[in-house]
């Protein structure tokens, strides 16, 4: 299978039994960005580097990014379109010197200019997707995002002209980060992988974000692996796990406990790569040093965790994800058309997503056992299982606050020792 530097490095690490750990990191200043990549490359861990782009570049406001560079205003990420190609090459050379792969992360629903910059600078890995970067974080019509991402995928394959196979990761396993039952996360990332394939990609990664319950997450990762084997068998692919993307624990012990649980879940669930968060997460943007410490912590915990030897209980995540995927594929042979129609009809419906193209009928909740379940499924082809955790009450404002901070509260209150790998998973309520 063809692999660019990023995919090849992840595959090599996996063959060695090592988890690739990767930060979320971006600086407007090229020297800071270069220093960040150097520090990540030198961390005592198998790492991938990240260049996260700034908000102006994400929304296509290049004039504002150029202005900020000119007057020295701080940017919350690296403006890859505004910086000259030579500057970006100089930044990336730091990673190349250590043989570390680099991924550009952005968050753009209309990423044409960003992909053009990736092609100019030869960056072989990025991420996003027509659903995952449109519905949760923009008000761009879904149809426009689908068209834009189709063009960008096709353009990205031109990297092969210079002998490099591009790699694209779907962000579909995260969506709004919280309160979305796993089956929909799994379905959307697989569908985005199919969309990428339709538009020419041959090397992809599928994502899943850590949720409220380790056993449920392990089942979700098993379902995701099975669906990738069934539906994307001819592609080079791997699974990337995100450390919890919702409200983060406020204590250092709680934050490291949650990160450790993510590292163990990645190993047990067969993920090849883990996106790491730091104890600073609840308070501010982490420093380079904090990122390195978090990467090394995650790597230590992962190295001590044996891969799962027994299967997890099947509570139906696979069947539900498969039904959601088939509902989309039934609406058209073109995956993008199927996605647009599915959201129009509410066959896909992201809980609590306010985007005008989302039906907004679905609701997720946390059961008494700490698992995510459907309170309402709208017109999606999934069953609301009252046996899963008792009858869900309609979500109230107080209930929402409790649910959003459920994980943070658990880990802040029942924090394990801060240093791995001997720690144990905090007990979840039964």
């Amino acid at each position: 299978m063809p692999r660019g530097p990023f995919a090849a490095a992840v595959a090599a690490a996996r063959a060695r039994g090592e988890l690739v750990v990767q930060p979320r990191m971006g600086f407007g200043d090229p020297a800071a960005m270069r220093a960040g990549l150097t520090a990540v490359a030198r961390a005592r861990a198998t790492t991938a580097g990240t260049v996260t782009l700034d908000s102006y570049t994400r929304v296509g406001d290049q004039a504002a990014a150029v202005r900020a560079l000119a007057d020295g205003s701080p940017l919350n990420g690296y403006p890859i379109v505004a910086h000259p190609v030579e500057v970006t090459r100089w930044v990336l050379a730091a990673a190349q010197r250590y043989g570390m792969p680099v991924q550009v992360r952005h968050g753009s629903a209309l990423p044409e200019e960003i992909f053009a910059a990736l092609l100019r600078t030869g960056v072989d890995a990025t991420e996003g997707g027509p659903v995952s970067y449109c519905l949760p974080y923009s008000r761009v019509p879904l149809r426009d995002a689908v068209d834009s991402w189709a063009r960008c995928c096709a353009a990205y394959t031109r990297l092969r002209d210079v002998g490099v196979e591009p790699h694209l990761e779907s962000f579909g396993g995260c969506l709004l980060g919280q309160l979305c039952p796993p089956s929909l996360l799994v379905a959307v990332t697989v569908l985005e992988g199919m969309f990428f394939r339709q538009h020419g990609l041959r090397s992809v990664s599928l994502s899943y974000a850590q949720q409220t319950c380790p056993e449920q997450d392990e089942e979700a990762l098993a379902a995701l692996r099975r669906l990738v084997d069934e539906l994307l068998p001819e592609l080079d692919s791997h699974i990337v796990l995100y450390t919890y993307m919702g409200v983060y624990p406020r204590t250092s012990e709680g934050a490291l406990g949650l990160l450790g649980a993510a590292a163990r879940l990645a190993v047990r669930g067969g993920a090849a790569r883990l996106i790491v968060k730091t104890p600073a997460e609840a308070h501010r943007i982490p420093t380079i040093e904090e990122n390195v410490a978090a990467l090394e912590h995650a790597a230590r915990v992962a190295a001590a965790e044996p891969p799962a030897t027994t299967g997890v209980e099947d509570t139906g995540i696979y069947a539900e994800a498969r039904a959601l995927i088939e509902a989309v594929l039934d609406l058209g042979s073109d995956v993008g058309v199927g996605l647009v129609r599915a959201f129009e009809r509410g066959h896909l419906d992201i809980p609590y997503c306010l985007h005008p193209d989302n039906a907004g009928q679905a609701r997720g909740y946390i059961t008494a056992r700490g698992r995510l379940a459907w309170a309402r499924a709208g017109r999606m082809p999934v069953r609301v299982d009252r046996a899963a955790g008792g009858r869900p009450a309609e979500m109230t404002s107080d209930g929402l606050l409790t649910a959003l901070s459920y994980v943070a509260t658990r880990y802040d209150q029942a924090a394990p020792p801060a240093v791995g790998p001997a720690e144990s998973v905090p007990a979840l309520p039964r």
Partner: protein
Amino acid sequence: MTVPAPARPAPAGGGRTVLLGTVSSDAHTWNLVYLQLLLEEAGHRVINLGACVPEELFAAECHRHDPDLVVVSSVNGHGCTDGKRLAAVLRADPALADVPIVIGGKLGVAGRLTGTQVDELFAAGYTAVFDDGADRDRFLEYLGRLELPVAGRAA
């Protein structure tokens, strides 16, 4: 929280039309989901505009729904800067000169706003400012005692 003293006793709670949204640069929405539930539980009707609302869209939706109250919530740190621009656009419209507009959330990049920043938000046209740390009960109390100018306003 900084609110002007109520001019008159509280009217009966609930029953208002509230237009809810955030500033143009802010992609966060959990705050909006929460506020919608809170306002609906208090008996109000809520139109939730969601993420990244352009100023012109905010103004157009005001015309469309004729709200009794506009609530702007932002947590990305640009709320003070972008929020002033939003208020300027809304207040420049004669039909929106009197509608109460409140703003709240994490409005600055460096923790709580300064007194000067709060003054600037009032000067831009906000009726009340709920900076980081303002709690739910004080917001609800404000809603309860606000004399919302429903009648006599140009629609």
